[in-house]
Amino acid sequence: MSETYTLYNQTVMDHFMNPRNMGDLPDADGVGEVGAAACGDIMKISLKIQDGKITDARFKTFGCGSAIASSSMATELIKGRTVEEALNFSNQEVVDALGGLPPVKIHCSVLAEEALKAALEDYLKKHPEVAAKVQQKEAEKAATPETANA
């Protein structure tokens, strides 16, 4: 065979072979570990948060190629975002940034979103003052007609 065939697209394969931000953060501000009931994969995301912004992110994943690529991509996308922005993160961003996943593997990107949100929850639990601020902002947003979904 002279040509190389790949199970996933080139972006997914690249993130599987050369994962970004793989590892742990020893002084993490928030850590989330979640498992997929569907297949048994497990994902862990660690976050460093300073002044309400995610300054660093790491992942570790027990799972298939697309699960590893999804967690790698999620950590790339999330860096630099505020906690509020990160709380609105959607798995679709991961799917889009990876250039698509096979339908049966979409749940891998959902797992990445869940791991991220679990890490954020862990952070908010340790920082109730930030949690209160986030809640207040959400409430304000909901009360403002201009920003509500028309």
Partner: protein, 422 residues
Amino acid sequence: MRRVYLDHLSATPLLPEAFEAMKPYFIEAFGNASSLHQYGLQVRDAIARARSQLAALINAPSAEDIIFTSDGTESANLAIKGVAYANQRRGNHLVVSEIEHPSVLNSVEFLEKQGFTCTRVKVDGEGMVNPEDVRAAITDKTILVAVHHVNHDIGTIEPIREIGRICAEKGVPFYVDAEASAGWLPIDVQQMGASLLSFSPHKFYGPKGVGVLYRNKKARLVSILHGGVQEGGRRSGTENVPAIVGAGVAAEVALRELNQRFAHTSRLQKKLWEGLKANVPYIKLNGPEPGPRRAPHTLNISTEFIEGEGQLLMCDLNGIAVASGSSCVSKSLKISHVLAAIGLDHALAQGNIIMSLGKDTTDEDIDYVVEKFSKVVVPKLRNMSPMWDEFQRGIIDSVISPTGRGRSFTEHAAAVSGKPAH
């Protein structure tokens, strides 16, 4: 990069002599075997020769007992449904092992929706069927027993002769799926007491697109494909002549080289497992140890703390082609039903791969696989795995070599996912 193909249970390369024998039947000898002129008679002869070659591989009493189908799935469907429908006035009960191939289990499930009933006989931790369990499952309504010769996932060789004797005693037809053994283990349908037996030439260096079903004349069978009277009315449809010719040659060579292939693959199988066991900590063989109870050419291993599809992909990137029974590989997101049936811990089933060797696998290939698997594939994936790290820190324990520290992987997975693993 070296390329090592270790998926011979999925497909094998076509033998050059089989390919040569097939060639005239595409353009020159293109006739339809049902035609009565020179073109038809010529291919009819070729099919008859192949029938004898395939009958010889399994010591069938007569070449007329060989039915050509399109593949193993069709053979299994014909054997199960064909015997069930032919005997439905006598009874409606079938007995199968719970670890049969999906083509058998799903055919049975189809029949159950039509009023047939089935007993699925359990297996032990190595995938072995107890013949006495088969005896106990047979009732006066039983019209078919189906147990495979070798399991396609874990390589277990079933006690076919004992089961065959019980079926003969009870007067129940016995179907043996020999897809994972034909061409690798000696098969004698008469000694086995098999009324029906199926196999696929592409698993032993023949072409794809042809399947074989042996049927003893005493076993009643009705066709499930309706049309012309090809294959004695048992299987309608134009014969795939080139594939049938290639299958015949592959069977003849397989029979001639059987001992040699067996000795070669069983030696390398042992070497591969010994090499992996010595170099990869927390690894487990599923199914019997290499030896008389295991097919000579296949290993099913679970490597703890890493997932099977990741291992498969990482092997492939290093030139090594393997299969896996992990849920991530299956389209249904379920672990292999065979691994579930032998009671394998979910974490180990998830970390499973299957390596199947062939007649051309070399010692150097095995050295390369052991080296790459132990030094690249496993460390790279374990380094990425939160489970490996948590095992080092005593949060979770090993299933293979428990240390007594931490909870089990399965408990941990259930806790973090909020649901028990299936």
